[in-house]
């Protein structure tokens, strides 16, 4: 009996839910850490949200990364506004999907003023590192959250904190540059959105 047990070796490559690894964790793959693969294979909080309080849309189809982040805001017992619920929809590479999933974990339950301060270091830390060429995905995720909170403040007709306004202006400027560069394609992207609705 003992000898037979010994023959059951851990496979060299794990698949999620392969049944032999604890909790069915994903293995590191290519340049990505196990944490990235975990978020990518089983993303947290994905999907569309009905009647969100704020939406952040960043990236574009031409560049290959599009992130939409939805938030629901509520007050906690101390009367602070917190992110009660958060969801994402992302078109993009492994890093884009993993960073989207990671930021929903980081932001969920946080007061808005703390959530605004989530930066790329925090996201990269949550993922145990990203390949250098993919670091921009973590910036994109942080931007999507900032835009969602900005959208919430605008909808509530509330004053925008200075830091958030600055961030919004930077994101808008970058978006304008890309849209100008690829104006024909951006139009097409809008058509796709409309057709979907």
């Amino acid at each position: 009996m003992k000898t037979i047990k010994k023959t059951i070796k851990k496979p060299a490559v794990c698949r999620p839910k392969c049944g032999t690894c604890p909790k069915g964790r994903a293995a590191a793959s290519g340049p990505y850490t196990a944490a990235v693969m975990d978020h990518f294979s089983k993303p947290h909080n994905y999907g569309k949200m009905a009647n969100p309080d704020g939406i952040g849309k960043v990236g574009n189809l031409v560049c290959g990364d599009v992130m939409w982040l939805y938030i629901k805001v509520a007050k906690n017992k101390a009367g602070q506004e917190i992110i009660k619920n958060i969801k994402f929809e992302t078109f993009g590479c492994v890093a884009a999907i993993a960073t989207s999933s990671a930021i929903t974990d980081l932001a969920k339950g946080k007061p808005l003023e703390d959530a605004i301060r989530i930066d790329k270091q925090e996201i990269v830390g949550e993922l145990g590192g990203l390949p250098p060429i993919k670091l921009h995905c973590s910036v994109l995720a942080a931007d999507a959250l900032a835009e969602a909170i900005y959208d919430y403040y605008i909808k509530q007709k509330r004053p925008i904190p200075v830091a958030l306004e600055e961030k919004h202006q930077r994101i808008k400027k970058e978006k304008d540059i890309v849209e100008e560069k690829y104006k024909d394609w951006v139009k097409k992207e809008e058509e796709i959105h409309e057709n979907r609705i």
């Binding site: 023959t7 290519g30 560049c63 599009v66 097409k188």
Partner: protein, 403 residues
């Protein structure tokens, strides 16, 4: 009792051991055991420098010259027209730079297709920086070079035309014989990069009017570190590596005889099995293409449906990003590749997909599955089972999913 346990253990193992399927034969091939055995057998003993006069050297030279004759026979060339190099990249560099530099007193003009491998594109760009002129032809939506465009592009001072035999990405087979005829009639040298087609489809350098041809060992189940350039007798060419004067003075370096021997064995095997294997692979290829197009909505074929390499499948899917797709396939045990920007070191979409008229967002969703000698029908069936699930899953996460 114990038999039962063993059986159960085997079942658990079978379930636990993930299936691993290689569908990236266009990137690199495993070495055929027959070629590996041949190369390994001579590796310890045939070590001498093939240039040496002593018996050891003579032995190495014999193996080398036999390999040269074998490779030459596969493409209907003379043995002395084959120059061995270390890689297809090196062969292409030698062809472009060597011919342009050797003929610069006659002209400075080079014509290439836009879907060439990077080593041809970059060699051409380097020549441009040295003062040569380069014309990059257009291709149609299948990736085809129109021979008439080649004819129109040739002008006084045109020295060389370089068009690949078959695309490594989309598998399209170019009208090489027509282009060869035009070039021969106009007195212009014609080079073709046959790294992907050599050993897979018929090549006859005489019939096809080819002056220079690149072939590689590691794409035809031979060892890495061996490749060749066929140079038709009379073609004026300069070496780019100078030294001991090996390979008729065109490629100085101690010759890697065992790898070349393995290359020659692999080429002979490929030649012998070409007709049967080509038929088998095109069957699997067409089954895979038809199955995917049928089961996955918003999926499209890249390249020509019929005039393509027997082992190449290249598709694209709307609203799915290629890197996510290949990593998810890898997790499921299938090795594939993509032309997406996100998977490349330059973060730019594949130049081939852009050249056939795809827009960047369309190129992002491309997937290449290349089949080979060990691809079984059950592998194709498995891919057909897994891929629709992966695409559906990624579309579910994407904001562009069609509800």
């Amino acid at each position: 009792m114990s038999k039962k346990i063993i059986k159960k253990t085997k079942q658990i193992l079978k379930k636990a051991r993930p299936r691993r399927i290689y569908m990236d034969y266009a990137a690199a091939t495993p070495v055929d055991p027959r070629a590996a055995k041949a190369a390994a057998k001579i590796l310890p003993d045939i070590f001498a420098n093939s240039m040496s006069f002593h018996g050891f050297g003579r032995q190495a030279r014999e193996v080398l010259e036999q390999s040269r004759a074998d490779i030459a026979s596969v493409v209907n060339a003379k043995a002395e027209e084959i120059v061995f190099t270390g890689s297809a990249t090196e062969s292409n560099n030698l062809a472009l730079k060597g011919v342009m530099l050797a003929n610069k007193n006659r002209g400075k003009h080079l014509i290439i297709s836009p879907i060439e491998h990077n080593c041809v594109l970059e060699s051409a760009a380097w020549l441009e920086r040295q003062g040569f002129e380069v014309t990059r032809l257009k291709v149609d939506s299948f990736g085809w070079v129109n021979p008439q465009d080649v004819a129109a592009g040739i002008r006084p001072g045109t020295i060389l035309v370089s068009v690949m035999h078959a695309s490594n990405e989309i598998g399209t087979i170019e009208p090489i014989a027509e282009i060869g005829k035009i070039c021969r009639d106009k007195g212009v040298y014609f080079h073709t990069d046959a790294a992907q087609s050599f050993g897979k489809i018929e090549i006859d350098v005489a019939k096809m009017n080819i002056d220079l041809l690149t072939a590689s060992s590691q794409k035809i189940y031979g060892p890495k570190g061996a490749a060749c350039l066929y140079i038709r007798q009379g073609v004026k060419i300069e070496p780019i590596l100078h030294g001991g004067g090996q390979e008729f003075g065109l490629r100085s370096s101690t010759v890697n005889v065992p790898a070349i021997f393995g290359f020659a064995q692999a080429a002979l095997i490929a030649q012998k099995e070409m007709a049967k294997e080509g038929k088998r692979l095109s069957g699997l290829r067409d089954k895979l293409i038809a199955g995917i197009l049928k089961t996955i909505p918003n999926s499209y074929l890249n390249g020509h449906p019929a005039k393509r390499l027997p082992n190449n499948v290249n598709l694209r899917f709307d609203f799915v990003e290629g890197e996510s797709m290949i990593v998810q396939l890898d997790v499921n045990g299938i090795a594939a590749s993509t032309g997406s920007a996100c998977s490349s070191a330059k973060l730019a979409p594949s130049h081939v997909l852009l050249a056939i008229g795809l827009e960047p967002q369309e190129a992002h969703g491309s997937l290449r599955l290349s089949l080979g000698r060990w691809t079984k029908e059950s592998d194709v069936n498995y891919a057909l089972k897994v891929l629709p699930k992966i695409i559906a899953r990624l579309r579910e996460i994407s904001p562009f999913k069609t509800n």
